[in-house]
Symmetry: C2
């Protein structure tokens, strides 16, 4: 999707400021400060899974593999309990010291802002900021079971769902549809007992749960303890990226991202108007209320 | 929330037409045909759960109990596989013959329309139609695991989650947050082995998962086979209704429902504009796109 071009050096301070601003911005702010992407669009990898599945440690290992394929790599963690701080993973025995100072890497942890679907309602804005700063690839870490995977699906190109050997019970519940949402399944902490069984269970469910797009979903076992599986995960991600790129043009990706962001911005602004300015007067007829929200939106134009 | 007043007889044909129209209506249609509720608002009960948990049969039993407390009772099933047809539950050994002809009962099954959260994006409109037709109580049946419960939460007053003895694995996965979404937990098919164990598991999880509003969540065992538990379920629902009414005025409920419906209508209209009319031209700068959607919306006013 991207290739090396006449790239400007990454201005880390400007980027950090832009992300902070976006994280708390009003819709008007977002539009006022919007900048077109300087170059192609970043490939987006979503890493999601329940709390305790070791997503952050997994990402610190994955980052090392991905730096071989990305001159500018970003990590955004949307997680209230995220252990990232200043480019390091806190509480992790193997700190990211060997990559934290790498000029090509930018890591940022952002607290989630209340969207009902378990993700922030402004992740699209944050990812757009990354696009505008010329990243080759962005890893988005989100926490959650269930509804989150659906939301992440629309935001990223490749969805990686992280499970652990104790997740057995979860797999049964996921039959209903969650298995459709992920492209790659990671059985992390595969040094723990039961890892083989869980991989088999995932494969068995995948064999039964049909997916329309014919992508052959992968199951990868990883272990930070044994330092194994991360190259295989990286390879699986690249297979999926290549497959995705063969099916969608950059133009289509760009349009889908813009469409999603526009819808989120309107939804947020209408929510603000209804919950804030109109909240006292919601007992009027619906058509009148609709017209009033429309009128208020329209006065903000220009 | 409501009481007997100078009630007009239910015009079943008009209501059926209004629901069909709403199910397929554009936003402009909804607003053009909107009518204010004739009297108080219907109490809303959401019944949700995975496929195969016996929701429809449970509802047919529950309906008999609820008719003792509602002069006008509605059932809306949003479920592609719903077995309701002309007031009867197909494939059910005990048909609803004894209640199907009851003038006080209105049952309607509607196919789900693609909202990404597993519910229709127009359920708020359908429920508003029921409000306008003077129902005392409406039972909303939705199917799903996970994301659906969150969406239903904003639409109804009381959320009932239906589990069965085989749902054990699901309960583990629900720990992360789904247990917060339901007010009453039903272990249906409690004649099957393992029912006691599952009730205990639910209670154990509830004891650990805190809920801010201090409602003491109930666990009720039901069995259509043994014709047991449905009065207890009905009683638990009434306890929750009384508790809810003590905390919110009818005015607040009405405002919340209007707010939700307004937000859904805008979100749907913006989605249509972006995906339909603008889809070819999404490669322009975001602020320009936003302004254009706004301009299009504004021309529809009046």
């Amino acid at each position: 999707m991207t290739g090396p071009t006449d790239r400007q050096p990454l201005d880390r301070r400007t980027l950090a400021r832009a992300l902070s601003r976006s994280a708390n911005a009003t819709v008007a702010d977002i539009l006022a400060h919007w900048q077109p992407p300087r170059r192609g669009l970043a490939r987006r990898i979503g890493i999601t899974g329940a709390p305790g599945t070791g997503k952050s440690t997994l990402i610190s290992r994955l980052v090392r593999c991905r730096l071989a394929h990305a001159d500018r790599l970003g990590v955004l963690a949307i997680d209230p309990s995220s252990p990232y701080s200043r480019g390091a993973i806190l509480g992790d025995r193997i700190r990211m010291d060997d990559v934290a100072d790498d000029d090509r890497l930018f890591i940022r942890s952002l607290a989630s802002r209340g969207a009902h679907d378990g993700t922030s309602d402004n992740i699209a804005d944050l990812l757009a900021v990354m696009d505008a700063h010329g990243f080759d690839e962005v890893i988005l870490e989100t926490v959650g079971v269930g509804q989150t995977e659906y939301a992440v699906r629309t935001l990223v190109d490749t969805v990686v769902l992280v499970l652990i050997p104790e997740s057995g019970d979860q797999i049964q519940a996921m039959k209903a549809g969650l298995m459709e949402a992920a492209d790659i399944f990671v059985v992390n902490k595969c040094d723990l007992p039961g890892a083989g069984r869980i991989s088999s269970e995932v494969r068995a469910v995948l064999a039964r749960v049909h997916r329309d797009d014919r992508w052959q979903r992968r199951v990868v076992e990883t272990s930070a303890e044994r330092a194994s599986g991360f190259e295989a995960l990286s390879a699986a991600i690249m297979e999926h990226q290549a497959w995705t790129m063969s099916r969608r043009s950059e133009q289509e990706v760009r349009a889908a991202r813009a469409a999603h962001q526009i819808k989120e911005l309107f939804s947020r602004r209408v929510g603000e108007l209804v919950e804030g300015e109109l909240a006292q007067r919601l007992d009027r007829p619906l058509p009148e209320l609709y017209a009033e929200v429309l009128a208020r939106l329209a006065t903000e134009r220009g």
